[in-house]
């Protein structure tokens, strides 16, 4: 089953779903990639959705257009988006639920890399680190961890 493609022309409602933080120490192109991948993996952006043009996004975010185009070409290489001649960039179709699930896994894997680095620097054994992760996952989300850049909570 191929995931349903939305009606033509639907896109990122507002490029402001993406924010750039020049204080983070993460290169801007990386920040763009991470946020677009998160939007895709979390289902906010679906197969066939259009992305803003390089020009639009660079103007909206106030960043160098070369940076946006670098982010877009890496996303293309990673099969997150696809380019069709003369058309806007769109989110690539995934093979149904399984594909989306795969994207979620990939997203989580990537976002855990800094945590893994931290665990190594602290010198904690893997078992102990996993115990902590398990404990955190089973704890009720009273105080949600400040990891996922979900903006819907603000509403």
């Amino acid at each position: 089953m191929i995931q349903e493609t939305r009606e033509e022309g639907r896109g990122l409602a507002s490029p402001l779903l993406i924010v750039v933080d020049p204080h983070s120490g993460v290169p801007v192109y990386r920040q763009l990639m991470d946020q677009i991948k998160f939007l895709v993996a979390s289902g906010v952006l679906r197969s066939g959705d259009e992305l803003p043009s390089t020009r639009t996004l660079s103007a909206e975010l106030g960043v160098n257009p070369m940076t946006v185009s670098k982010a877009y070409s890496y996303l293309e290489k990673e099969d997150v988006v696809e380019r069709r001649p003369g058309r806007p960039l769109v989110v690539q179709a995934t093979a149904g639920e399984a594909g989306l699930h795969e994207r979620k896994r990939a997203q989580l894997r990537e976002s855990l890399i800094p945590t893994v680095t931290m665990i190594r620097q602290l010198g904690l054994p893997a078992d102990e680190a996993l115990d902590i992760l398990r404990e955190l996952l089973t704890r009720p989300p009273d105080e949600p961890p400040a990891a996922a850049p979900s903006r819907e909570d603000d509403a």
Binding site: V20, P22, H23, S24, G25, V26, P27, V28, Y29, R30, R55, S58, A59, L61, G62, V63, N64, P65, M66, T67, K70, T117, R120, Q121, G123
Partner: protein, 297 residues
Amino acid sequence: MRTLAFTNVHRAYQRGRDVLRGVSCQLERGEVVGLLGRNGAGKTTLIRIAMGMLEAQRGEVRVLGWDPRREPLAVKRRVGYVSEEQILPEFLEVAEVIALHRQLFPDWDEALERDLRERFGIPLTSRIKTLSKGQARQVALLCAMSHRPELLLLDEPAGGLDPAARREFLETSIQLLNETGTTILFSSHYMTDVERLAGRVVMLHDGRVLIDSELDELQEKHALALVPHDAGITRARLLAVEGCLGVRERRDAWHAVFHLAPAVAHELLRAELGVAGARCQSVALEEMFIELAGGQA
């Protein structure tokens, strides 16, 4: 042909103070390069040499293939220049200043001039001396951009502007980049602007190029290591580690910048110096700048 090339440029002022002591760097067409350095590092001098306002005492400068001291007209027609200290004749009206520039440049683009004028919303009949700092800078920017220069040289263009005016300036630069792919060399103390606009950064220190790196690489392949004094490591031993660019002493720890990814730096410190408690992380450009500028011997 490179758009801008400095080769081994030297410049000293009177009383024997060297400002530039052999600076080399190149800008390819379409590149946007942020020129960083502390006050007195030589940024303004370097930009003035490119404009032909100052002469290099040794070394070579080429702007679009020309020597700016020998071909000043050819260079000035294709280059735009804005500086923080630029002074517009304050008794003239905005319209008169713009007209003056229009006459100087055969390639003046009136549509772009109008577009920028409307964007900035500057009244044409105002006298320069009645304008705010931000408005005056916008007039200077309009005059520097309306002939669609192949190279823009901006010396602290946002200096003294409020955040909204700075953002406006940044957006205008991005618009120009989008439309024409203009090559830009700009000096700035606003590291957040540099992060947004620059593809590459060149950092001057003590009259030399300390860093010349793609910005992405600077962030991904450089790390700040915090090495506690408890570890008993000396500054010299840290500096001797391969890839160490500078060490700064803080109250409880050494702050060392490495040209290595954080994880690699951490591993190297453990393997070579036996330091287990170092924290290695990537840092924003502003922190990197402070560490590097403050961490030189």
